[in-house]
Amino acid sequence: MPEEHKIITEGFGVDGLRTIDVYRAHGGYTAIEKAFGMSQDEVIDEVRESLLAGRGGAWFPAGVKWGFMPKEPREPSYLCVNADESEPGTFKDRHLMEQNPHQMLEGTIIASYAMRVSVAYVYIRGEMFEARRIVEKAIAEARAAGFIGRDILGSGYDLEVYVHPGAGAYICGEEMGLIQSLNGNRAEPRAKPPFPAQQGVFERPTTVNNVQTLSYVPHIVNRGADWFKGIGSERFPGTFIFCVSGHVNNPGMFELETGSVTMRQIVEDFAGGVRDGRALKAVIPGGASTPPMTPDQIDIVMDPSNFLAPGGGDFQGMFGTGGIIVMDETSCMVDALLNFMVFFAHESCGQCTPCREGCPWARDIVWRIENGLGKRGDLDTLLDIAHNVGPYLCPPSRLTTICGFGGAFANPIHGFVQTFRDEFEAHVEEGRYPVKQDKSTRVPG
C-alpha cells in the first residue's frame, strides 16, 4: 500500500507549530533567506521549472502565471492568496492555515518578492474566523521578525500583508469574484480579458494563488525544482491533499503523491472503506461541482492528467479540488443532487442569465422529482438546462456564462442524471425511490 508523502502537512499536530519559533525550529523561514539571495526571475524560473500547478483545481502552472506580472512595475501590483475555500467537500486550505500558517506566509512572501508586488492580501473565507485569527497572529509574528514590512532582510524589498475576511459567498472564491470583492464591489466575476495580471485588484496587475499552491513554494525554493519534479506524476508533479468525507470509516485529509494511488485505494485504504460494511454507490471526486463516479470507475489512478478536466485525459470526468465525498448504497442520488442544487442556486451571483435562471429552475425540478412530483420530460428538461449552460465537461470557452460557476452546476446535473438515470426515472415513475433508507421518501399527493 502506498504511503502518504507529507510535504506541506509535515509537522501537522506538532505542538505550537503555528507559532513562529516552532516553525523556525522546523526549518521555517530559511527558504525566504535563500530566495532573497536569488534574483526575482530566478525564483520564478525555479517555480516554473518545478512544474508546480495551481492547487485550486485548475492546475494552471504557477510559474507561468507569475511570469505574466510586470517585470518592472510602474504602479503597485498585488498578490491575492485565495483562502476562500468553499467547495463542498473540500477542507484542506483551512487546515493548512490553522495548522501551519507560517508555511503559507513564507510562500506568500517569496511569491510576492518574485512577482515584485507591494501588497499581498490573504482573502480568507468569512466563516473561517479561527483560521483568520491564526493567520493574523502569524502575520504579526512575521512582521516582528522582520519578514514582512519595509526592507525585508536588508534586501530593500517592502511588502505588506493584510488579511481580508471573505464576504460570505461561494463565488468570492472565483478569481475575478475574489478581486471584485476585495475591491469593495459585489463579488460578481467579470469577463476576461482584461486578465488579472493586467487589471485586477484596484485595477492594477494582480495574481491570485491558492493557499495550498503557495504552501509548496518554500519547499521548492529550499530543495529545488528537480526535487519537486521527482515527486508524483510527470505532468503534475508533487503531492496533493485529498479530503475524504461521507460514508467512510476514517474520513480525513491525506497528502498523497499525484499519480500514485487509485481512487479505490484512497477510499478503501486511507479512508478505511465504506462504513458499516455497506456497498459503495458513488464517489464525488473533487467537490460538489465534479460529476460523480461509480464503483466501477474508481480504479483510476488519481492524477489530473487521467481526467478530461483539467488534464485532457481519457476519463470523462473532473479531477476537481480533492474534496472526495463517498456515498454508500443507502444514498439517494436525487436527494444528493438536490442538496447540491440548493447550494448552487443559493450561491449563484445572479449576474448572468443562464446561471441566475438556470440554477433555481434545475433546483425546483430536482425538488419535485425528489418529492414525488416529477413529470415525464423533467429529466430531459434538466439535461437541457445543463446543456444550455454548457455541454458536459465543456471547456470554459464553450460555457455561456461569464465564470466557471455555470459549469460547476451544470456538470453535476449532467453527471448525476446520466449516471443514475434509472434512479431518477424510478422517482418520476413511482413518485418515490425504493431505497429504504432514503430519508426523504414520501408518498405523492
Partner: protein, 538 residues
Amino acid sequence: MATFTIDGSEIEIVPGKNVLQTAIDNGIYVPHYCYHPGLSAPANCRMCLVEMDVGGRRSLGPSCSAMPADGMVVDTQSDVVKENQNAVMEFLLVNHPLDCPVCDQSGECELQDYSYTYGTDRSRYHEKKLVQPKKDVGRHVLLYSDRCIRCTRCIRFCDEVSGTGELGYFNRGVYNEIDVFPGARMDNRLSGNTVDICPVGALLDKSFLFKQRVWFLKSVDTICPGCSTGCNVRADYNNERIYRLAPRENPDVNEYWMCDDGRHGWGYVHADDRLLFPMLGRGEAQELALWEAALKATRAGFERVRSEYGDGAVAGIASAHLTNEEHYLFGSLFSNGLAGGPVAVHTRLSDEGDVTFKGGFTIHGDKSPNSRGARTVLEGLGLSLAEPPEIWRGIAEGRIRGLYLLGGDPLASLSDEEQTALATLDFLVVQDIRARSWTAMADVILPGAAFIEKDGTFSNFGGRVQRVRRGLAPVGDARADWEILRDVNREMGVEAAHDRIEAVMADLANAVAAFEGVDDDDGGDRGKPLVEIEAAGA
C-alpha cells in the same frame, strides 16, 4: 489596415469599437440586452454571444465586451450561437410575467421582439414563478421588478452618466433585485433615461403609464426646446396630443440622453391658456379677429406710430425661443417695413447656470433653444442688436411708442416695471403662445405655434443647426410663427415667395453667411454646425 471577418464579410477594425457595435454598424444585427453604446459593457445578459475564432482558437463569447483583432473570424449565425440565443430567451422568460397585455412596454419591448425572432412559442417552465415587488423609485419613475431582466443598464446609467448612484443591486442569484439604496430616491434630473434604456417594461415613466398603447403613437423627430443644449428628441403623439418625448442619438449633442425637465416640459402645448385666435383691442375690449383683420391692424398701428413719432419709435423684441427662419423673417421686417427701430433678443436664463453630469451631459442655464441662432441671424442681416433693457428704458422714457413683442417662451415672465412700461405704449403687438398678464395689454395678439406645431431650425449653444419638425397642427386658429411673420412682411409690402419653410431656409442660407449650406443639408440626422464653427473645427 487591420481587418476581421463577420459572417464572411471582411470589415475594417475601428479601434475602440467592440465586435457587437462593429457588426451592427455594418448591418449585421446581434441581439443584446445589457449592452448599450452609452454605457460600459458587463456582458451579463449573454444574449450577444457569438463564436469568435482567433488564431484557430474558437470560443463562444460576448461580442459586446470583445474587441476585434486582426484576422479574427466572427460567426453570428452558427448553430451554437442560435442555440444560445434560444436558451437565453427561455431562461429570461422563466420568471418573467406574461403580462404583455397590460404592460406599457408592449410593442416596443426587446424581450417581446426577441421572443419572436430568437425564442420559442411555448414554455417548459412548470415551477412557481418568482414574483418581485413593484416599487416607486423616483418622482418620475416606477420600477416593476417582476419584469426586470437584470441587465443593469439603469444602475450603470446612474453610476456612469448621471453620476448620482441611487440604484443598487440587492440580494443574490435569482433573488437579486434592483432598487434604490435605503433612504435614496431616484430623483436625479436625468432619471427618465433609465426608462428609455430599460429593454423591458420594468422601469416605467409615471406620466406615460397606461396613457397610450405604443402602436397608436405617431412620431416626429425634432429638437427639445427646453434649453440651449438642443437635445435631439422624438416626439410621440396621437389624436393631436403629445404623449412623450424621448431622446434620439446624436453623438455631437446629447449622445443618447435628455433631461427630465425637457422630457416632461411639453405640458404647455396642451395648456388651457394657449392663444387660439388673433385678437384685437386692449384689456376688456379684446375680441376675436380674423387673420386678415389682425394683419391689417398690425400694419395700420405700426404705420401710425412711425408717422407720428418717426421710424425709430417702433421697436422689436425677438425671442430666442423662435427658429432661425423666424428670426430671418423678423430681421427682414426690421430691415424693410419697420426699418429704423431698435431690435433686441429676449432669452431666459436660469439662476442655477449650466449643470453638467458625470458622463458629460449638460443642462444649459440658457433656457432658450435658439439664443445663438437668433443673434447670428439678426446680426447677419446687418441689424445692430440692442439689449432688452435698452428697449424697456426706451419705452419707459417715451422714445419707443410701438413694440412688436415675440414670445414663444412658455415660461416667460416680465417684471412689474416692464409690464408698466408696456401699458404706456401707443401700440403693442404680441405674438405668443400662451395668455399672460401682458397679452391683455396688446392691441393685436397674433397666436403662434409651439415647437411641435411648426418646422424650422434651432442653433444650439454650440452653433449646431438642427431641424425642428411639425407633428401637430397649431391649436385653434393659431399659425406657425414663420407664417405669421411672412404675412406681416407681406402686409408691410415685402413680398417674398415664402410658401414653404424650405424657401425661407434657402433665403436665410443666402442672406446670412454663417448659414451657408444649411438648406442643402435637409437638417440631417445630426444637424450642421454654423459655418464659422465648422471652419474652426476643421
